[in-house]
């Protein structure tokens, strides 16, 4: 350590401080929607529940693939488990339907841990298709359980004990809460020791391992966490539409949507999926009358993004204008801020010119988030 060179590590920037307050405001608005005139309609809340479900699922997939390097094309396995858990617990065992939503997450997490014994034997590309096979196995298995309606599925008739508007408001608030918890949780997670390991894993698996990150256990944790989130999404979504069938619950479209949202928005960033979800739903609205064209255009957009902007739209914007919205990136800030910002590296304290250059190098090279 050279004399006179003291620094602190800062995560906050002016943009990130603003973004946090913007996030708080958005959360307040989101939670008060049911009581707002015009927007608090049944149609809007239904749509909003769907948007929030997709966004949470995309964040989960991003956490798993973008950070953990686990490319799964079978996360619908856990959405489906979540949906069926609501049927089992609320419909058959008489648990409060709303309480059965977190239970759905727990069931999905348990299923993830148990099946990880098999799918974690595969790496890289094999893992991707292996998780898909797993989702197919679940789909076929649930199609053959006649108590749960077999291939045609089952309706969540217990929900009729709530009147329509109570049901809609409750589901909406649960979905909003899930989104807020997921957003805040991912931020806190990535700021923690766990998140530092995960970010290291994202950047280089070998380097992370050499620095003492327990890669295997970290991957299992992030896989379980993402599956828990997917289970909650399944629980919320199917409580909202009131019917679960194996074909819909284990539909590959779940993961297709999550992947496109993440890839187009920006893989391995927390802001990316939000941008991606906005594009995904805007295009869906714009192309509502064109059927298969919608998926075709989303697919083309994703492929073009991977080819020309591999970090997605958000990654492109961030690199171009150096914006960091969430307080996740760690920057070295020298004591007496002037030093880091001084263009020629001159500082008030008696450090050599060379030292300051090095310090600036540390600030500018490889951002940690």
């Amino acid at each position: 350590m050279r004399e006179g060179l003291s620094y602190v590590i800062s995560r906050n920037t002016a943009a990130s401080n603003a973004a946090v307050w913007l996030g708080v405001a958005a959360a307040v608005v989101a939670l008060s929607v049911p009581w707002l005139p015009y927007v608090g309609t049944s149609g809007f809340m239904h749509w909003a529940v769907e948007v929030m479900c997709y966004l949470v699922l995309a964040q989960m997939w991003n956490l798993m693939a973008g950070y953990g390097g686990l490319m799964s094309v079978g996360i619908q396995a856990f959405v489906g488990i979540g949906g069926y858990s609501v049927i089992v617990f609320a419909q058959h065992l008489g648990v409060n339907p709303f309480l059965s939503i977190p239970i759905a997450g727990v069931m999905a997490a348990i299923a993830a841990v148990v099946t990880s014994v098999l799918v974690f034997r595969m790496r890289g590309g094999y893992f991707a298709i292996g998780t898909w096979v797993l989702a197919e196995v679940f789909r076929i298995a649930f199609s053959n359980v006649s108590v749960l309606g077999g291939g045609s599925g089952q309706s969540l008739t217990v929900m009729t004990r709530f009147d329509r508007s109570t049901r809609e408001i409750a589901i909406y608030l649960i979905a909003a809460a899930a989104l807020i918890i997921a957003s805040v949780g991912i931020n806190l997670l990535l700021r923690s020791r766990f998140g530092l390991g995960l970010t290291a894993l994202r950047d280089s698996e070998a380097a992370a391992e050499s620095q003492g990150v327990d890669v295997r256990s970290l991957k299992l944790q992030v896989y379980t966490l993402a599956s828990f989130g997917a289970g909650v999404v399944g629980g919320i979504y199917y409580t909202s539409i009131l019917r679960v069938s194996p074909a819909a619950a284990f539909d590959q479209n779940w993961v297709v949507a999550a992947i496109f949202i993440v890839v187009i928005g920006g893989i391995g960033t927390v802001e990316g999926p939000i941008v991606g979800a906005a594009i995904f739903f805007a295009l869906r609205w714009a192309l509502a009358d064109y059927g298969a064209w919608y998926w075709l255009i989303m697919g083309a957009l994703a492929v073009v993004t991977i080819m020309f902007a591999p970090t997605g739209l958000w990654g492109f914007v961030r690199a171009r204008w150096d914006i960091q919205l969430l307080p996740l990136q760690r920057r070295l800030v020298l004591e007496g801020q002037a030093r880091a910002d001084a263009p020629d590296g001159r500082a008030d304290e008696p450090t050599t010119r060379n030292d300051s250059r090095q310090a600036r190098g540390a600030v500018r090279t490889r951002p940690m988030s």
């Binding site: 034997r121 590309g125 076929i140 991977i306």
Partner: protein
Amino acid sequence: MIEIVDTIIQGVLLGGLYALFAIGLSITYGVMRVVNIAHGDFMVLAAYLALWPVTHLNMHPFVAIVPTAVLMFCLGYTVQRVVLNRTMGPNFLAPMLATFGMSIILRNGLQQVYHADSRSFQIGGLGTDSIHLGESLAVGKFPLIVFVVSVILVFLTSQLFTSTRIGVALRATSDDAETAGLMGIRASRTYAIALAISFALLAVGGVFAGIRTTFTPESGPATLLYAFEAVVIGGMGSLWGTFAGAIILGVAQGMGAQFGAGFGVLAGHLVFLAVLAFKPTGLFERTV
């Protein structure tokens, strides 16, 4: 007893068809370490491409395989050069996501052009004729042809890998793309050849699958999963291993189907998971 023998024979013959799906996937994974998620959807595309000369020029489906294979070869080369090579790097995520995007494009594009109706190829009596082996055993002539063609193609592709210059280049790139590059083997070109060969083989698989059963724009994912399972059961690095994996998968599906519709596919998946549990490197892994 005779039923079991019959089931096994039918399963082995079905496995011959699955081997045709799987060889291409085995080659591309072996060379690039990337699983082509659009593999099955490209096979469906090949089947639709072959449908054109068959319906409009009255070409025999077997003959239509030839121009389709040539077209698919060129398509594979182009897709790798134009799209996938841009995404290749130390991280497998980007190329796989690109193939994932392509699979969704193909599935929905075919849906848009050909709608959801199922299609098939007709080859007259040959499609239904069978050879009787004893009183209650019969082997269909067409499945037998598929099996023989499959054996021949596996043999030819292994020969290609072991005794041609292209094969040496493919294996060298597979082992260490960077060092191969120093020896004058450009990875971008070798990758393109690998995908081109894989796509040409898909033309054979696509037409044969279309004769045996039917196909729709949605047939791709199942094809990919069967091909993938055959490759994993067989183990890395051996085309004959992949062939054996396909046979095992075919027999498992045949046995499972005895328990009812839908159980055939499930039995295949379960055998795949069992192999993962007990011998995750595959049954016939070969380390070169």
